[in-house]
Amino acid sequence: MLKKFLNTILFSEIGQGLKLTFRHMFLRKITVQYPKEKLVLADGYRGFIVHRRYDNGVERCVGCDLCEAICPAKAIRVVSDIHPEVPDRRYAKEYTLDFTRCVFCGYCVVACPVNALSMTKEFAHSSFTRDGLIYSKEQMLALGDRSGNDSDAYLKVRNMWDAEDSGKDEGRYHFPPITLGG
């Protein structure tokens, strides 16, 4: 009875709560002052999806529609056609990825037979309109160019670097880069 009375008038619960607070004042700081400070993200981070290029600057995508087929959120739309300059090659005439629908599961990257897709550490793209988050192939290629080595690192850490040998004669999928202009 007396104990309950003392607990009530001395605010002991507040004391208990503050104890936790004061203890944390002396522990290591975890909160990062975003955007002034940024975390180092792991190589396997599933951020924005980008298109990749061959070393000679030609886009890798062959327009096979497999990413569209596997996408669980139906965020990807591919319209494929004959390459306008190389009549025996397939390419994506239109490629759109709706990031408002994308669930960043990474299936499309797994499905891609030529490593044309990869994920980056980019997560902060924003837009004032919905349409602004529907990316075309050109935008995704530009994003890939900006992302530097992140996309390569993602594929390596996810064990998908094998198909990178596709330029060789004996690769699993043999789609050497197109050389344009003779």
Partner: protein
């Protein structure tokens, strides 16, 4: 019968059955690549390996016949190992470029690899990396992906009989392709594309534009010709991507011709009509349905109020039964006129008139199966491969499998000529004479007297050929006569048809099982439109309009008065000329296509008070229209069509209406409602139900279903008297023909008018090209890639003498005009004939015919298929 045990289950099969079929019967399907039920087994892919329990060895299921007491295991571990190893060997050189291969997703090799777990090969070898063969505009040959099963080569040899592709080189270097590395030059049926189990042969028109899993398949019937092919329309978001087929589908058993497979782009052509137009100050301006329909209805009401027979209707014979039924009822009942005609007039009427009189039916007593089993096939004035491709396949099969004697009575060589025992060349218009002489010779025991010999020679026929034909006809049990467009459209077509019926009757070929007459119908629903009353001669059910009793049948049913007088296109044009007919409604039909005197036609049509054109494309008649109403095509609306064999098959819509266009039936519904005389149908399916209620034996059937049984009409009992006796009712046909023979006018002994051929002149004949159908396909980008220009086909030897090459011009002169046309020298033409594809017959050709065309006095079929010309090279 032998007994075999398959996976422990005993089945009894005919001796000589292959293990594959026995296992199928036992309920254990065996996987195959190179096997196709229509072709001889080859045993080249080695996937159908099965184990024989006693001998412990694997044999190929598709080429091994069963023996008594054989014990077969189809799913043992050994069989699985064998199949997997075989797959690995097939994948040895396969490039595995499935992601970019058009076949990926519907590839039997892919599926099989998936189910046997052989996604790659254990064996070490190089991957093939040859460049693709991109020479052809239609098909792409990729030798890397080929597993050399030979299905494409065999279907081209055995089914199509075209022999366009073959195996080239030996061993690992073997590839499939056209000979000598040339560009593919064939009938472009695309059957090789269809049967290829990998992506070795792909479609160039839609190359890389689709993935199989994105597409929806709709099964429908092709209306390009009367074959009634069933096909699958593959659509992606309501746009047609391609047309494919399936083994064993429909009467065509999975084969489709070039027009059916590649000719669909005209429906999604950007230039297609997508708006309603009306004439304002001599120009067509776009309008709205809800504004225009009351206007048309008002004007029609005004014209009809002035009396009966003031409106005429022209109907395409590609429309389904429902539209034809509705249209003729609208014309006959609402507009009180019997001036109605359809495209079937020029296609079939010359034969249909005597045939319906003699047998009471238009449906042939033979079908493709009978053609395949016939002993003698006589093709009269037709190119089956071009006019009705699938009938052509049946004829080829008869010759190949059944050793049938094929005779071709035609002016020039066609693709089946190489298979013919004899090609008997006759001049255009000589058909009636030919048949009369043939009948006379057969009646006199097969001997030719001197007068007949002279007459045969005069029409250009070779005597040896005739003698062989007469001998074969005398000895044969099953004789099938196939008639084509040259026969039906000939100036003496009606007389020739009567002669033919007389010949068939006299020789008893109506009575004998497996013999008969098979007309090639050029348009998708020629027969159906006539059955539904799409001509001035007949009410629905082929009841003659002139007979008051027949009119009564429909008058009581419809509760109206029917006009007895009326007429076809000849009378319609005369009526417009005389001012009696004030309005014309055309539904998909364009008389400019077959009335050569276009200047006169234009003048006549401009006298009309009201011309309503319902069509899906711009044309000469559309330019003259006061109201131009866009209609849906066969890919957008449903319905039923009757094939040349007499099968009724449904059309299924596979895409949305183009722009503002509406189905023809809907347009007629709206018109009749606005006129205040609505027809008693609330929607399209109500017409279908009505048709099948009145004509129960028209209900859809397939090749496998039994033939139409002449069932009793539920309400129109009178019709059953004239209802088509079919295959199952041969006796009644024979009895009816016997009566007709007695009453029919005896054959005129004097030769009918035909074209005299001076020594230095040719007969220009308008003929159908295999790559086109009617004139709508010249708006189709794919078919125009295959054949994009009308070339005058001239005899090669003549062209060689004058150093003319393909594409060089000649000046063509007739009594009426002249034109300059590019030539195509071809072998196999008779010396006195040149040909021009009717699809490209524009002003240049019409100028040649000018006023020099006439009507068949009895059937009212316009002539204008052939004319005498002189040719002179342009230097």
């Amino acid at each position: 019968m032998v007994k075999v045990t398959i996976n422990g289950k005993e089945v009894e099969v005919e001796s000589g059955t292959t293990i594959l079929h026995a296992a199928e019967k036992a309920g254990f399907p065996i996987p195959t690549f190179c096997y196709n039920p229509r072709m001889d087994p080859a045993g080249s892919c080695r996937i159908c390996a099965v184990e024989l329990e006693d001998s412990k060895r694997t044999v190929m299921g598709c080429i091994t016949a069963v023996s008594d007491g054989m014990k077969v295991l189809t799913e043992s571990a050994k069989v699985h190992d064998a199949r997997k190893t075989n797959l690995e060997l097939l994948l040895l050189h396969h490039p595995l470029d499935c992601p970019v291969c058009d076949c990926g997703g519907e590839c039997p090799l892919q599926n099989m690899s998936f189910s046997y777990g052989a996604s790659d090969s254990r064996f070490e070898s190089h991957r093939n990396d040859e460049p693709e063969d991109l020479k052809s505009d239609v098909l792409v040959f990729n030798s890397n992906r080929c597993i050399l099963c030979g299905k494409c080569v065999r279907i081209c040899d055995e089914i199509q009989d075209v022999h366009a592709i073959g195996f080239i080189n030996r061993g690992f270097d073997t590839i499939i392709g056209p000979p000598l590395g040339k560009k593919l030059d064939c009938e472009f049926c695309g059957d090789c594309l269809e049967v290829c189990p990998t992506g070795a042969i792909t479609d160039r028109f839609v190359r890389y534009q689709f993935r199989p899993w994105q597409m929806e398949k709709t099964e429908t019937t092709c209306t390009a010709c009367g074959s009634g092919c069933r096909m699958l329309v593959d659509t992606e978001s309501e746009a047609i991507v391609r047309i494919s087929s399936k083994e064993g589908l429909g009467p065509n058993e999975g084969s489709i011709c070039v027009v059916g497979r590649f000719g669909f782009n005209y429906v999604q052509n950007k230039e297609r009509l997508d708006k309603v137009y009306f004439k304002k100050a001599q120009r067509l301006v776009p309008g709205k349905w809800q504004e225009i329909m009351p206007k048309i209805a008002d004007r029609l009401r005004g014209i009809v109020a002035g009396g009966s027979g003031r409106v005429a209707g022209l109907l395409s014979s590609r429309v389904p039964l429902e539209d034809a039924f509705l249209f003729q009822r609208f014309i006959r009942q609402t507009l009180r006129s019997n001036f109605i005609d359809s495209g079937a007039r020029r296609g079939l009427m010359n034969l249909a008139l005597p045939l319906a009189k003699a047998t009471g039916s238009l449906r042939p007593l033979v079908d493709h199966k009978d053609i395949e089993a016939a002993n003698v096939i006589v093709v009269l004035g037709g190119d089956p491969a071009a006019e009705s491709n699938i009938t052509g396949l049946a004829i080829k099969k008869a010759v190949r499998k059944n050793k049938a004697n094929l005779y071709l009575v035609h002016g020039h060589d066609v693709s089946i000529s190489t298979r013919a025992k004899e090609v008997i060349r006759t001049l255009p218009g000589a058909e009636a004479d030919f048949l009369r002489l043939l009948r006379k010779s057969l009646a006199s025991g097969g001997t030719l007297d001197i007068a007949s010999k002279d007459a045969f020679v005069a029409m250009g026929a070779s005597l040896e050929g005739i003698e062989r034909l007469i001998a074969d006809l005398g000895a044969a049990k099953k004789v099938v006569f196939v008639t084509g467009r040259r026969f039906h459209g000939s100036d003496t077509g009606l007389e020739a048809s009567e002669e033919l019926l007389r010949l068939l009757s006299e020789k008893g070929w109506f009575a004998s099982e497996g013999s008969g007459l098979f007309p090639l119908t050029e348009l998708g629903n020629d027969m159906g439109v006539l059955m539904m009353g799409g001509s001035s001669e007949w009410l629905p059910g082929l009841l003659e309009v002139s007979n008051a009793e027949n009119r009564k049948v429909w008058e009581t049913h419809w509760g109206t008065q029917l006009e007895a007088s009326g007429g076809g296109i000849r009378e319609i044009l005369a009526g417009i000329e005389s001012g009696k007919i004030k309005a014309l409604i055309t539904m998909g039909e364009n008389p400019f296509e077959y009335i050569p005197d276009t200047a006169l036609l234009r003048e006549t049509l401009s006298k009309l008070e009201l011309l309503v054109v319902i069509d899906h494309r711009q044309s000469d008649i559309a330019d003259l229209a006061h109201f131009l109403l866009p209609s849906a095509t066969a890919f957008e609306r449903g319905g039923h069509v009757v094939s040349a064999e007499g099968f009724v098959q449904p059309i299924a819509p596979s895409m949305a209406y183009w722009g503002d266009s509406l189905p023809e039936a809907e347009i007629i519904f709206q018109l009749s409602r606005h006129m205040g005389a609505a027809l008693p149908f609330d929607d399209f399916s109500a017409i279908t139900r009505e048709i099948f209620r009145i004509f129960p034996d028209l209900s859809p059937s397939t090749r496998n279903a039994s033939h139409f049984q002449g069932g009793t009409g539920e309400i129109l009992l009178a019709i059953t008297k004239t209802q088509p006796p079919h295959k199952a009712h041969r006796e009644s046909v024979v009895a009816k023909v016997g009566e007709w023979m007695k009453s029919a006018p005896s054959a005129s002994s004097e030769s009918a008018a035909r074209l005299p051929v001076p020594e230095d002149a040719f007969v220009l004949q308008l003929s159908k090209s295999i790559n086109h159908s009617g004139t709508f396909t010249i708006q189709d980008a794919s078919l125009m890639t295959i054949e994009g220009e009308g070339l005058l086909r001239v005899p090669r030897q003549w062209a060689r003498k004058r150093k003319l090459k393909k594409g060089s011009c000649v000046r063509v002169r007739t009594a009426h005009g002249e034109a300059s046309l590019p030539v195509d020298p071809v072998a196999g033409l008779s010396d006195r004939e040149v040909h021009f594809p009717i699809h490209f017959a524009d002003e240049r050709i019409q100028a040649l015919f000018g006023k020099g065309f006439s009507w068949n006095s009895r059937s009212g079929v316009p002539s204008g298929q052939s004319i005498t010309v002189t040719l002179e090279p342009v230097l």
